[in-house]
């Protein structure tokens, strides 16, 4: 069953410059699609368009159907219902994606309360449980902390916990490891992989790094300058890239991989 159906999506700036052009792809329930392309290729705008959250002044045309709801042109009320329930996002930069003045526990409790209707002590227990599920040590302490009081890796786990608290049908992860220290990136990837598998969620995984995307997704869509240039299974794209652009992405991923191998060798 198709969960997300993007067809002919075009995103334009206020002065009509297209930033995403005629993009089409689908994500089935439980499927994992990787969206890959160099920085500035329109990946983040695509994910925002999927939730009807484009920056002010930008407009989208085409069709985005998420769990049966046409997102483009939908009213605010419909969108609020869809967001969280049908799709939730983990952003690249966990420090700015968390409210600096709100304790971390409350930021997870908010979406949790909205979905489950829990209150008081039971909401607290569920929040601590949600923090424990993303393998945060000492959830009690973390829940009481402000974002600046915990490390980058911990912040991203909190952001993941907040997204998962919505139990969305589709998890959108926009470069969730890019801002992290190299040493915690693999852990974070593994965590997303496990948690999403347990919940049988579909994933739209965005990255500029083919090596990262290849680890967690089944299928890959390659973007360049707001257009799709190649699509296929991870195997096909990595082994037999059809485009020069994709070949470069593969090559740079290889170089990085071998560099990492060299580094981690004793």
């Amino acid at each position: 069953m198709t969960l997300l159906d993007v067809h002919g999506l075009t995103v334009r700036t206020a002065d009509g410059r297209p930033l995403v052009s005629n993009l089409s792809f689908t994500v089935a329930g439980g499927e994992r699609l990787g969206l890959i392309g160099e920085s500035g290729s329109g990946k983040s705008l695509t994910t925002l368009a999927v939730l009807g959250l484009l920056p002010e002044g930008m407009s989208a045309t085409g069709s985005v159907v998420l769990a049966g709801t046409q997102i483009l042109g939908a009213r605010e009320k419909e969108l609020t219902a869809v967001r969280g329930r049908d799709a939730a996002v983990v952003f690249q930069e966990p420090l700015t994606a968390l409210d600096p003045l709100m304790r971390v526990g409350r930021q997870v409790a908010g979406p949790l309360a909205r979905r489950t209707g829990l209150k008081g002590g039971r909401l607290r227990a569920a929040t601590l449980d949600a923090l424990a599920q993303v393998r945060l040590p000492d959830p009690e302490r973390i829940a009481r902390a402000f974002p600046h009081e915990i490390s980058g890796g911990q912040r991203q786990r909190v952001a993941l916990a907040a997204a998962l608290a919505c139990e969305p049908a589709l998890l959108i992860a926009d470069e969730p490891t890019t801002a992290l220290d190299v040493s915690v990136q693999a852990e974070m990837l593994g965590l997303i992989d496990t948690l999403v598998r347990e919940r049988e969620m579909a994933v739209l995984f965005v990255s500029h790094d083919l090596a990262v995307v290849a680890k967690v997704t089944d299928r890959i869509l390659v973007m360049k300058d707001g257009r799709a240039v190649e699509e296929g299974t991870v195997r096909d794209v990595v082994v037999a890239p059809r485009q020069e652009y994709t070949r470069n992405l593969v090559a740079s991923a290889r170089t990085l991989e071998s560099a990492l191998d060299l580094r981690s060798a004793p």
């Binding site: 969280g84 939730a88 700015t96 994606a97 409210d99 600096p100 003045l101 909205r114 600046h148 040493s183």
Partner: protein, 290 residues
């Protein structure tokens, strides 16, 4: 937890000495404001004389049963200063409440307004800000009567334009932040986003501004009373005390000096509080980006 995690955890903001100096500012401000507030509070429980007791003799000097002397009608000056403190606080708190209520509502609306509505609201606020508070007060007094309530309403309305313009800018800035988008992606409605994320994040800057507005409101009320546009005669606003003592300043300076000094103390006090709050509440101090 990995070693890098430990290293990456930001230490307490490296502003220890600075924030201690700032909190000293806050303490000094609270002490000054508190002293004047104490006069106001005590005035409800105890006054040296009844406010309309004129038995003291005209313009008696300090001492002799009247700690600060009497005014030209023979009323005890300390008594008048104490009831004046009530009026000063009433004017400050009242005006700031009006300014906060109207200003925050208008400011949030203006921040969300698009197109012509945004332009109209902004123009309206600009005009209201350019409009002299005194003129506005005269209009309000003309429409109602010269009471403390009219003065508070006029000052509060004039200040609400300043607050609204500030709130509009602050809200617009917060709305561009990632955590707002993040909250929206998880299905937080606009009203909840504003109440849960936008207002708390503009609050530190807003509360500092409201403290400054408090000081300005106290001064504005004193000016209005000085001009006879404030609380009517039996009420001893400091502004009116100043005006009444003006003619006899050379022979009985205490009558003008005392309310003047209290006014200065209170205004300096709340300004110090605002200054101290600025750093204590500043999100950049708490959530220092490293």
């Amino acid at each position: 937890m990995t070693p890098t995690d430990l290293l990456a955890r930001p230490a307490e903001p490296a502003t220890g000495r600075r924030s201690r100096r700032r909190s000293a500012t806050l303490v000094l401000g609270c002490v000054l404001t508190g002293l004047v507030a104490l006069l106001a509070v005590v005035s409800f429980l105890w006054l040296p004389y009844s406010p309309d007791d004129t038995s003291g003799g005209r313009l008696a000097g300090p001492g002799d049963g009247h700690l600060l002397g009497t005014d030209k009608l023979g009323r005890d000056l300390l008594t008048q200063l104490m009831t004046g403190a009530r009026i000063a606080f009433g004017a400050g708190l009242g005006s700031v409440s009006v300014a906060a209520l109207v200003g925050v509502t208008l400011g949030v609306l203006a921040a969300f307004a698009q197109g012509w509505l945004d332009d109209t609201l902004s123009a309206f606020l600009d005009i209201l800000i350019a409009f002299p508070t005194l003129l506005l007060a005269m209009l309000v007094v003309a429409a109602r009567s010269a009471t403390l309530g009219s003065a508070v309403l006029a000052i509060g309305l004039a200040q609400s334009a300043v607050v609204a313009r500030l709130v509009r800018i602050l809200v617009k800035r917060v709305l561009t932040q990632d955590y707002i988008t993040a909250a929206r992606t998880s299905g937080t409605s606009w009203p909840r986003t504003v109440a849960g994320h936008v207002l708390p994040n503009i609050w530190p800057t807003l509360v500092v501004n409201l403290a400054l507005q408090f000081g300005l409101a106290v001064l504005a009320e004193a000016s209005l009373s000085y001009l006879g546009l404030g609380a009517p005669p039996p009420n001893a606003s400091w502004g009116r005390l100043l005006q009444e003592a003006q003619a006899t300043f050379t022979t009985a300076p205490a009558g003008a000096l005392a309310p003047g000094i209290l006014l200065v103390l209170l205004v300096i006090g709340v300004n110090l509080i605002a200054d101290g709050l600025r750093d204590v509440l500043d999100p950049a101090g708490r959530g220092r980006r490293t």
